[in-house]
């Protein structure tokens, strides 16, 4: 599935959508950027509440195509601008990380083992 389709399915707010849609290879949920650096994989969507510019930097380095910010956290302008420059999708939801992770998991793996 592509980022655009996921955004529609989860009803996310499009803060900085992607100019070119990207495929999703999974998801990762964490608020510790070092943890994301260590364990997230390229192509995964990141669910987090770390709403600042450095999250974009980490996503860029790992190859994360899109970030979902949970709990309606306010997003600083420089983070949105960085997402636009790096072409990393930035989306927001009023739901929390647990719910978002659960929904994403269901969508990605409808027939879990």
């Amino acid at each position: 599935m592509q980022v655009g389709e996921l955004v529609k399915k989860l009803g996310l707010e499009e803060v900085q959508p992607l100019l070119q849609d990207q495929p999703i290879q999974g998801g990762y949920t964490s608020d510790l950027l070092s943890d994301v650096m260590a364990h997230a994989q390229a192509g995964q969507v990141l669910i987090t509440i770390q709403a600042h510019k450095n999250t974009i930097a980490v996503a860029g380095l790992i190859g994360i195509p899109a970030i979902i910010i949970a709990n309606n956290r306010p997003l600083p302008e420089d983070m949105i601008e960085a997402a636009r420059k790096e072409q990393i999708g930035l989306f927001r939801s009023g739901e929390n990380q647990f719910i978002l992770s659960g929904k994403l998991f269901q969508i990605l793996y409808p027939n879990p083992v």
Binding site: L32, S34, H52, N54, A57, V58, L61
Partner: protein, 316 residues
């Protein structure tokens, strides 16, 4: 009042190029705060106060056709002569100096000089109001561009000479608590290696090592340098700083151990995984440090991929 010192003869080419390259539409504020012709001057004064502006264009209902402008001066006269409750259209300036959005910035600067107004409404080719440009907008735009240009120049000047055996050498100054620029060096390194065709597995390991060492300089050191060297079949990342030094290196290498303070942790850093992460992805890893002096970390990664790469891939 002396004129704005942009001398077309002697100004450096960068500056002239800039003020012709930038268009009014690149610099203007496009969210214009406007009022209608029956808005009272008192209401306009309130708007000015609330939004901290000194000029309000008067437009039609749709906000596109410019009819006039009310400035702070007009408000002062109105208060002075007792007509502050009058509608805007009775006293607004109708002889307007405007700019077109496609005009080069140089026009805006020379208008500021020539006409002594603080702001100019900006119209598009269809004479619709699309923005407003003030001296503040111009200052900000020029500073931003000047910054970019100077950064480029500084890079060129400090471009390090390659030592024998080196194919590529990059050096980055990293400042303490500079979260604004944190990660830029690593992003630059990654981009260059990607251009050189380095494979994604190795590239990711280099990105992780570089980023963790760069972040350590930002979060824990008094400032330092991140050096990237490519030597044939391997790359080295050296992070060196001038303090404060690590008291117990073994402890620092433990996962979860961190000396970061509260607000750094609130940003998502200081999880105590930086050094362990960097070590795990590297083929060679050394730290030298002395409390009260500086720290030197060296991480080397083989470009050919190694057994480490396979282990990493298994753990992912």
């Amino acid at each position: 009042m002396s004129s704005i010192p942009i001398n077309t003869q002697d100004s450096p080419p960068f500056l002239l190029d800039l003020i012709y390259r930038l268009k009014v539409k690149d610099v203007m504020t496009s969210k214009v705060i406007t009022a209608r012709k029956n808005t009272t001057l008192r209401q306009i004064q309130q708007i000015m106060k609330e939004k901290s502006i000194t000029g309000v264009p008067i437009t039609d209902q749709k906000g596109k056709r410019l009819l006039g402008i009310v400035s702070m001066d007009d408000i002062i006269s109105a208060l002075d002569e007792g007509y502050i409750e009058d509608p805007a259209e009775k006293h607004m300036s109708r002889n307007l100096i405007v700019l077109e959005d496609d005009m080069p910035l140089q026009f805006a600067i020379s208008y500021l000089d020539k006409y002594r107004y603080g702001r100019f409404p900006v119209l598009n080719k269809n004479r619709e109001l699309v923005g407003i440009i003030t001296s503040r907008d111009i200052i900000i735009a020029l500073l931003v561009e000047a910054n970019k240009e100077v950064e480029k120049l500084e890079q060129k000047i400090s471009s390090p000479h390659l030592l024998p055996g080196e194919d590529l050498r990059l050096e980055y100054n990293v400042r303490k608590f500079d979260f604004e620029n944190a990660g830029k060096a690593s992003a630059d390194i990654k981009r260059r290696l990607m251009e050189k065709g380095v494979g994604p597995q190795v590239l990711r390991r280099i990105a992780v090592a570089s980023y963790e060492l760069e972040m350590n300089l930002v979060v824990h050191s008094e400032g330092g340098t991140l050096i990237f060297i490519q030597r044939g079949d391997r790359v080295e990342i050296l992070a060196q700083d001038s303090g404060p030094g690590i008291e117990d290196i073994n402890q620092a290498l433990e996962e979860g151990y961190s000396t970061a303070n509260e607000w750094i942790r609130s940003l998502g850093f200081g999880a105590g995984m930086g050094l362990p992460n960097a070590r795990r992805v590297s083929d060679e890893f050394t730290i030298e440090s002395k409390k009260g002096e500086g720290t030197r970390v060296r991480a080397a990664i083989y470009l050919s991929g190694s057994s480490k790469a396979e282990d990493e891939a298994k753990n992912a």
